[in-house]
Symmetry: C2
């Protein structure tokens, strides 16, 4: 079976997000003062082959832990759906 | 009213995504051959104040077009929810 996964990786709440801070500042310069607390992370889509959804889940989780997310600074979540 | 927006910004399908290609290659080295076609974009969360959802929608759309996304190379989508 083919699956598509959508992964979101975000800096942990406790950790400063300098890129988000910079974007928040720029919003003010653009006249969008009502926007605040911007946080910037990664959105990753991927396709995978797996015999069933449980295995697919394990594979994506492994990919997140081993490669996509830095668990010291980031958290991840993902959604799987059949392609 | 307070809203939270979740924005996804992805490289356009027609455009090469070198970061995604690199990640796809690394999956193979990690023994995750079943994962392919990785694409890497940005996930941005932000908070905003707006009188109603229509205005909030306009503001987030403006932020995406003016600052967050490069529309020549990227597409964006977002979801709004009351905070």
């Amino acid at each position: 079976m083919k699956f598509i996964a959508e992964v979101n990786i975000m800096p942990l709440k406790e950790i400063l997000d300098p890129q988000g801070k910079a974007v928040t500042g720029s919003m003010k310069n653009l006249g969008l003062q009502e926007i605040h607390n911007v946080r910037v992370g990664k959105h990753i889509t991927l396709e995978l082959e797996a015999p069933n959804e449980t295995v697919a889940n394990q594979k994506v989780d492994e990919a997140c832990r081993k490669l996509l997310a830095n668990l010291i600074m980031e958290s991840y979540e993902f959604e799987l759906q059949p392609a």
